[in-house]
């Protein structure tokens, strides 16, 4: 995308003399090319690398003066304190719902942009992504006369093509300068939500082109010498649905970075500039060194973990996220070859940098949570991907709901690690089954009861069920994979600001559990309905309605799948007013009993594009469960009946899955009968299970079932050959080839497909009944 002089300099030629420019001539050429660069888009040289930068000459100089590890540690602790303080400022003053629930991060960076230290709370994924925009700024704006970098400046960006977790996040990156030289950066980044995309809330499941993804802010200087630029601010406000949010949170981030800067200034005064610079640099390097050492502790070998995602967020498909992790000595190679191609008119694709940011999330929160959160953590890990797959999307692919792919980068590493680390005598985190990995949550937008335009999301995304540990059950609705200490928010407080009620909240759904010797943490249901608003709508943005999003570990089962359920054409508030007994609401009762006359009861997958919610119409979903650990028949029968008594599991599951026999009235376990039933169930397994080779011969097919819209490699023997479904003509056809040989992959509008099906049926019926009808086209 970036036109650089390189493209115009002949790389070879018949006439060698033509290449010999004098220094003066070369400068003229460079100057000319520099001034005539058409567009400074995302720079592949920056965007495709996650390694830390080599030491600069100045860093070298500073380090040469000597390093006192104790002093480095003191500096790091002081920075950590400042970052946590800045974090709390954002959390308590931020206008974005995400900020109030800890979906943000504050950080200190080296001059070249490597994250040295991140606030202890918040989203770790930012540690592996914010070096990109800083490198872009250093490369393109530092010496650009119309931009430049001065003390008191602050840069803003949100477009993940320039390095961001996803486009809902907005940054404030501020240089630390001494004598005109940049010696470090400080920054604050918040999940702001609303960003002017085709749907409110910043994570559109419906985007069909990058221009539907909303605000496309490349790094811009929004703050100049301490002053917020009103012209640019107005442009940003005008480009999104929530101008108040934009203003408030840019100011909050300015305040937070100012707070970090105060500490940085004091620290530099105290320890000296050189010691400060050296300690930032060695922290990044030390983390890298330690990661290499820890890789070396893992057994050499290869662990493969493939995931299958069942939705484009508009229609059900199956797209693969392949991952093979090889450890050899202190090298680790993560290979995503086999991952399905990008889909050029669907929102699920992720830029490579965003996918990597969630790999870093797994490394720093689930593998080695004791390490400083630094760019150094992912840096020594080699990552192989193919550009134009959905985990490494090209510039022209929409990435509105990129978490669909990037969260799979997290799950690939988090899940595989149980196998990688199991035999290792030295562990830094517990052996744990897969964490839930979908944003089962309502996004919303419209006009509030206070007359304001808003677009954002509920805090329930933070209620993901934890994976079972090897020695205890996973925790219910405990934390999102991206933030260990995120909050579920106060529903009553939110209801003051948004025109809908959560009629049911935090009620666990029976059997919504990853079964196992230890079971995964459970998820709860949510039921919302709008009230007192001239215009309102809800969205959901996840997959996992047909294929379980997470499996279990070592024989444990995964989570179930999750429907979206709706009752349209009713007003629940009127119903409850007339008959308060109807307030006995649950997804199960409402959908199965259909108690409200005239209601239109529907289910769908969890990709709901902005849907106009009339007053009192019900929208229902459930948060997801973590994976189970170990064989279900080894689960303590007492734990099974406890879950049964609390209606966490059904009798069917207690009997058929867990093999427990109990006294119906008292929930007392029949020990002997349970032992016998379980022995019988083991025997049944042995008699129904087929020897592997025989099983393979029966089960394995050359290709996916014909009607399955499948994307990615089939098996793992030939990961470079990708399968895809291509609508070159009206009927879809399966295509195969290397990623560069596949046609552009798009999916037709499902309504167009439905209409053509219905038209065909009309013709069929006309023919059958001999009706003569003229169809003009």
């Amino acid at each position: 995308m970036t036109l650089t002089t390189d493209q115009f300099v002949p790389t070879s030629g018949d006439d060698d003399a033509s290449q010999l420019l004098t220094d003066q001539e070369q400068q003229w050429v460079d100057k000319f090319m520099d001034e005539t660069t058409l567009f400074l888009g995302p720079d592949p040289a920056i965007m495709r690398t996650h390694e830390i930068m080599p030491r600069t000459a100045y860093e070298e100089e500073c380090i040469a003066k000597g390093i006192d590890p104790l002093e480095v540690d003191r500096i790091r602790k002081r920075l950590a304190g400042a970052l946590d303080e800045a974090f709390e400022m954002c959390e308590s003053m931020g206008a974005a719902p995400g900020a109030k629930w800890a979906d943000l991060s504050c950080a200190v960076y080296t001059a070249e942009g490597d994250v040295t230290y991140l606030s202890n709370r918040g989203v770790i994924a930012f540690s592996a992504v914010l070096h990109h925009p800083i490198r872009y700024i250093m490369k393109n704006w530092k010496d650009e006369p119309t931009v430049g970098i001065n003390p008191g400046d602050g840069f803003f960006h949100n477009d993940s093509r320039f390095g961001m977790v996803h486009n809902t996040d907005q940054s404030m990156l501020v240089p630390v300068m001494r004598d005109g030289i940049i010696i470090a950066w400080v920054g604050a980044t918040i999940h702001e939500g609303e960003n002017g995309a085709c749907e409110p809330g910043g994570m559109p499941s419906g985007s069909e082109s990058p221009f539907d993804d909303g605000l496309r802010a490349s790094p811009i200087k929004i703050v100049e010498k301490g002053h917020l630029r009103r012209d640019l601010l107005t442009f940003l406000q005008h480009s999104t649905r929530d101008p108040k949010l934009m203003l408030a949170d840019i100011k909050v981030k300015m305040g937070a970075t100012r707070r970090i800067m105060d500490t940085v200034d004091r620290l530099i005064d105290e320890v000296g500039q050189e010691t400060f610079v050296a300690s930032l640099r060695v922290t990044v390097e030390d983390v890298e060194t330690e990661v290499r050492r820890r890789i070396g502790e893992l057994p050499d070998g290869t662990v493969t973990f493939n995931q299958f995602v069942d939705s484009t967020l508009k229609e059900n498909i199956l797209i693969k996220f392949a991952c093979k992790i090889t450890v050899k000595g202190e090298r680790m190679i993560i290979d995503l070859t086999g991952t399905g191609p990008e889909i050029l008119n669907r929102a699920l694709n992720s830029p490579l940098a965003s996918t990597k940011s969630f790999m870093s999330q797994a490394v720093l929160s689930y593998w080695w949570p004791d390490l400083p959160r630094s760019t150094g953590a992912l840096s020594p890990i080699e990552i192989i991907t193919e550009e134009h797959t959905w985990a490494d999307a090209g510039y022209d692919a929409p990435v509105g709901q990129s978490l669909q792919a990037s969260f799979r980068g997290f799950s690939a590493l988090q899940s595989a690690f149980a196998k990688m680390q199991f035999s290792s005598p030295q562990k830094y985190s517990n052996v744990v089954a897969p964490w839930f990995n979908q944003i089962n949550d309502f996004l919303w937008g419209g006009t509030t009861q206070n007359g304001e335009q808003v677009g954002n999301l509920c805090a329930d995304l933070n209620g993901m069920g934890g994976g079972a540990k090897a020695f205890r059950d996973g925790e219910d609705a405990v934390a999102p994979l991206f933030c260990a200490m995120a909050d579920l928010g106060e529903q009553e407080v939110m209801e003051e600001e948004v025109p809908f009620l959560q009629l049911v909240s935090k009620r666990l759904v029976r059997d919504n559990q990853g079964f196992g010797k230890y079971r995964g943490g459970m998820g709860y249901e949510m039921m919302v309905a709008s009230r007192g608003t001239p215009s309102w709508g809800f969205m959901t943005v996840t997959s996992g309605s047909k294929f379980s999003s997470v499996p279990g570990m070592f024989g444990g089962y995964g989570c179930p799948v999750y429907p979206l359920a709706m009752v349209k054409d009713i007003n629940i508030y009127d119903i409850i007013k007339k008959d308060p007994s109807q307030f006995n609401l649950s997804m199960e009762r409402v959908m199965n009993e259909q108690p409200f006359e005239g209601g239109d009861y529907q289910t769908g997958h969890m990709g709901l594009q902005f849907d106009v919610a009339k007053e009192g119409e019900l929208y229902m979903i459930a948060q997801g469960a973590g994976g189970g650990y170990g064989d279900v028949l080894e689960r303590d029968p007492e734990l099974v009946v406890t879950d049964l008594e609390l209606d966490r599991i059904s009798a069917q599951v207690a009997t058929n899955v867990y093999g427990v026999v109990w006294e119906a009235d008292t929930f007392v376990v029949h020990e002997q009968a349970t032992i016998e039933l379980r022995a019988q169930m083991r025997q049944d397994r042995i008699s129904r299970g087929k020897p592997y080779k025989e099983f393979i011969a029966e089960f394995v097919q050359e290709e996916p079932p014909k009607d399955l819209l499948y994307y990615g490699s089939w098996g793992q023997d030939n990961n470079e050959e990708l399968l895809a479904t291509h609508w070159g003509k009206i009927e879809p056809e399966r295509v195969k080839g290397k990623i560069e040989d596949l046609p552009l992959i798009m999916v037709p509008d499902r309504r167009v497909l439905k209409i053509s099906k219905l038209e065909a049926r009309v013709r069929e019926l006309e023919q059958k009944y001999g009706e003569v009808a003229v169809h003009k086209s």
Partner: protein, 151 residues
């Protein structure tokens, strides 16, 4: 020397075999894919994850769609322990999920000097301390002979 590699699988470094931690069943060459020594069952996912809302009325019910998703259950042929449950599209080859470098594993443990069955645990924290030694040693002293039976 036996190394616990998963909850239910050990690698015996002396014989270079995968063995069941529960019953000592021999799953095959430790340099290869342990799944080749298992019994496998193609489970309809709806039998495990029951619908919460009525499948007669609705397409999406909390229960996976068997046309998209199967659960391959891998059993130990001797004791019937479910050592792995893999969620796969119908007809997709099972994943070769672990391949280990046995020479390197031996080197690492030789250098460590400890007994893996005593040293390996579930990670930091008191409650993560675990006895990951072979269960068949404590339960049935003669269970080793089982690996020569059948299959």
């Amino acid at each position: 020397m036996r190394v616990p590699m998963t909850e239910y699988l050990l690698i015996d470094l002396d014989t270079e075999r995968w063995i069941c931690r529960v019953c000592a069943h021999d799953f095959g060459d430790a340099r290869g894919n342990y799944k080749e020594g298992t019994l496998v069952y193609d489970r309809d996912p709806q039998e495990i994850h029951p619908p919460v809302i009525d499948p007669e009325k609705y397409e999406f019910t909390f229960s996976p769609d068997p046309a998209f998703c199967r659960i391959l259950e891998f059993y130990c042929p001797t004791c019937g322990t479910q050592i792995e449950a893999e969620y796969l599209p119908p007809g997709h080859p099972p994943t070769v999920d672990m391949l280990w470098d046995i020479d390197s594993l031996r080197e690492k443990w030789d250098a460590h000097g400890g007994n893996p069955e005593e040293v390996v645990n579930y990670g930091p924290g008191e409650n993560a301390e675990a006895d990951l030694s072979a269960r068949f040693d404590s339960v049935t002293p003669h269970a080793h002979s089982r690996q020569n039976e059948g299959h």
